[in-house]
Symmetry: C2
Subunit: 564 residues, 2 copies
Amino acid sequence: MGFDLGTTLQKMNILSDTDETSVAAITLFVTLLCACIVIGHLLEENRWMNESITALLIGVCTGVGILLISGGKSSRLLIFSEDLFFIYLLPPIIFNAGFQVKKKQFFRNFSTIMLFGAIGTLISFVVISLGAIGLLQQIDINLSIGEYLALGAIFAATDSVCTLQVLNQDETPLLYSLVFGEGVVNDATSVVLFNAVQNLDLTHINTTIALELFGNFLYLFITSTILGVVAGLLSAYVIKMLYFGRHSTDREVAIMMLLAYLSYMLSELFNLSAILTVFFCGIVMSHYTWHNVTENSRVTTKHTFATLSFVAEIFIFLYVGMDALDIEKWRIVSSSLKTSISVSGILLGLVLVGRAAFIFPLSFLSNLTKKSPNEKIDFKKQITIWWAGLMRGAVSMALAYKQFTSSGHTNVRDNAIMITSTIIVVLFSTVVFGLITKPLVRFLLPSSKQLTRMISSEPVTSHTITPPLLGGEQDSLTDLYGQSIANGPTSEASGVGQNVPRPNSLRMLLSPRTIHYYWRKFDNAFMRPVFGGRGFVPFVPGSPTERSVHHFVEELEKAERTLN
Amino acid sequence: MGFDLGTTLQKMNILSDTDETSVAAITLFVTLLCACIVIGHLLEENRWMNESITALLIGVCTGVGILLISGGKSSRLLIFSEDLFFIYLLPPIIFNAGFQVKKKQFFRNFSTIMLFGAIGTLISFVVISLGAIGLLQQIDINLSIGEYLALGAIFAATDSVCTLQVLNQDETPLLYSLVFGEGVVNDATSVVLFNAVQNLDLTHINTTIALELFGNFLYLFITSTILGVVAGLLSAYVIKMLYFGRHSTDREVAIMMLLAYLSYMLSELFNLSAILTVFFCGIVMSHYTWHNVTENSRVTTKHTFATLSFVAEIFIFLYVGMDALDIEKWRIVSSSLKTSISVSGILLGLVLVGRAAFIFPLSFLSNLTKKSPNEKIDFKKQITIWWAGLMRGAVSMALAYKQFTSSGHTNVRDNAIMITSTIIVVLFSTVVFGLITKPLVRFLLPSSKQLTRMISSEPVTSHTITPPLLGGEQDSLTDLYGQSIANGPTSEASGVGQNVPRPNSLRMLLSPRTIHYYWRKFDNAFMRPVFGGRGFVPFVPGSPTERSVHHFVEELEKAERTLN
């Protein structure tokens, strides 16, 4: 039923620890989730609000309500738990993002995404850390050098969840894939930075340590990706070989969910970037596994993953909203409320500057490598990308709690100020920046739908170019594509064969499109025969492709009868 | 992703309490779940094994493995948590049972189910309690009178989960609905009995207390049912009025899940029988809500609920299996292992006798009220019903821990013996009785498929009887049924109109079929126009019935394209 939800709630220890109140807390939380969904639905057509902000505001209101009922005494109203967030709420969100992402768009912009996600986050981290060292000391905040660097890592971590809410994959596919892709890579970078800051001897930073950090990042990125890909391929192989659907659709759904979650947990266990792992696991699963299961399982997994992700997102914002009233910390900082607000202001400014410091220069660099003006990121788009990634969310919150409290508690004034400032930054950036993003996108990119479509899809003129790289293999390739097309009119299969570029330079040979072409060939020749995928599961007896739509309709009717 | 699973695992505290091992424990558990699913799939055609037994055995093996690795030191290997079981694992299982149950079959046998579930459980409770008082004292076990009565309640609680696994709803619908229905009502009775034993002053039992208990049961049964029905109707009404599907299928799925879970938690909060509540919520949701959502949501909810239930079931058996090696208690009883085995034997015997003591007499009573020989429960069926309800499972385990330990710990020898004996009874009854049930059903009811079909469906001869109760309203009724049939060829709608019995006696007037007829009329006239349901949601713009199958196929193709 309420999957993640229920269990996790128990950790919140609302008011007291007894069973009765734990049940009451879960009941309250589930009720609030229902309210958020209904209100979110009613506000769907509203141009300002989105579900995150609704949940955040409902959370804050409920927090105030509980505080008033308990007579302001429940200082431990809610304890923010990093475990709850990282182990139970984040995996479904990121997995679903990988599962539903437009893979073509994502891999075409891969170099820009890596540039923003890795180098950009590093720049942002440096700017925020240096700014914090320079500015915070002036307003009577004394932190160690390690803590300043941790602040940099905390506020360099963008909120991928909120990005998913403010940008629309269908309306602005380029921006969506850039900002969201950056967010995923950003996570790997943040993890490396945050762990590095906590583990390395930071009193003397030199080139060796910098190289070590870079090597660490590469190792983390590659191993995390491989783990996710392996988990995805394993699920595809197991389902293709054993053909679960013969006995039960439920086993297919269960094994997909469990293997995806397993990849996340294994990654956590090995101290890798679990977000990267589960993201790539989602991509692989949607490319292979999803095509190996029955029609019913396809519909079920697609919507179940989306629903889980949706509920987890609302849950997080509701939780962050309720958590904002952490009376214990607010009491400690109440004497220096002005300082806390100043710190929040400084941090918000640094977040703005830190992001600007890499979006504009790196966009310029990225534009240099692109020839077609349509592929370049113009200034208006740069502003949108800059703005859409400003939100700080539960990741920052979780990291701040990890750095400045010991299991949620602190008595040190400066640490309490850091926690309350983080809360203010998260609330302000999510609500204010979040509210402005939708109208901003509409203002800056008024015909965004048209514009991005022009950029994202292959230019129509290139359709007539003969692919010179094909040589004698053209026939067999056409065969393969023909087969793909026969199994469903998908834009991917029909687009690629026609768009292999002229090999007029080495750059073109290594361009994403050529790479994509070779990948397709490899995929069709080696991967799909083993792991399944669209058009490659026709020989298993009783497999999905054998079963006609007619059969599916029969199933649906049978299900209706069973249920009555 | 792994919804329920993950979070709950943290409570297990495998080996130590640090984050690292908690992650390791979750990883291990998810891996085991995957293994159970794959092995269960491979053993599907095996006539002896089922998924429960597989999971139980894998659990025990893993427990042994961990014990050996830790050098026998991890006495607190796993702590059985009632919360984990009652709050997170049981709801999806029981809800799904209500959601997928054959409603017609269930309500037709309602009186027999109530007889077995309420009176039967009481008889079983009395037999086991008296037997325990008489026999256990002879082998040097000294418990208070309250504890003996608690033992009666603990072992009168049948395991509905295991029943679902050994009986097949399609092959033996009558037996399935009787045994499973009894299990659900049994839960309400057990809760009343167990709570009564813990709260009432049991030193002087008199008629007032007995009446009080009976009133308590009635109150519990009625309020729990009403709560479930209201939650189900609320979900139907909200989804019908707001038409979530217009914006997002995911909201529909989420709201159905959350409202179902909310009904369970509210019931827990008010100390009602949450199992009864969520069971009826499932029935109402499948009757109304399910018909108000989009086709995608229908497929998704049907399979998601089944998958969640399936995973939760495996989880429970895996957990019970691992929990069997509760070294702390085994150490305490090691000096009196013989006593513990004797106690287990006595309890197993009492369970056998206690169930026999009500199945055979009450079946005789039930047969007296039936006229047709086809509707009577013959001796072979009585034996099957008796045997299929012998398994004791996680409910008994949870109640035993509640009674004989304080948050999982105990140092009293007799209490430890009770825990280990419960574990033995649960393992033995699940594995041995469970293994025998499938072959037994096949042996006793060789043509069970044919037989039960004859009993469950209306006799063919009665099809020609004119329903005399219809009077002038016959036309409008035919209209209604016609509409229902037009919306899908369902056995329910087409069967009922023809089978209203002759009103040759008052008994016939009040017979389940007549009641069913009036219910259908009421349902069609008042309920469905308000809450939707099959054939009653054609006027909402863009509602499921408007969207053709063709549209659905388009959606599926679109989804395929999106995912690639």
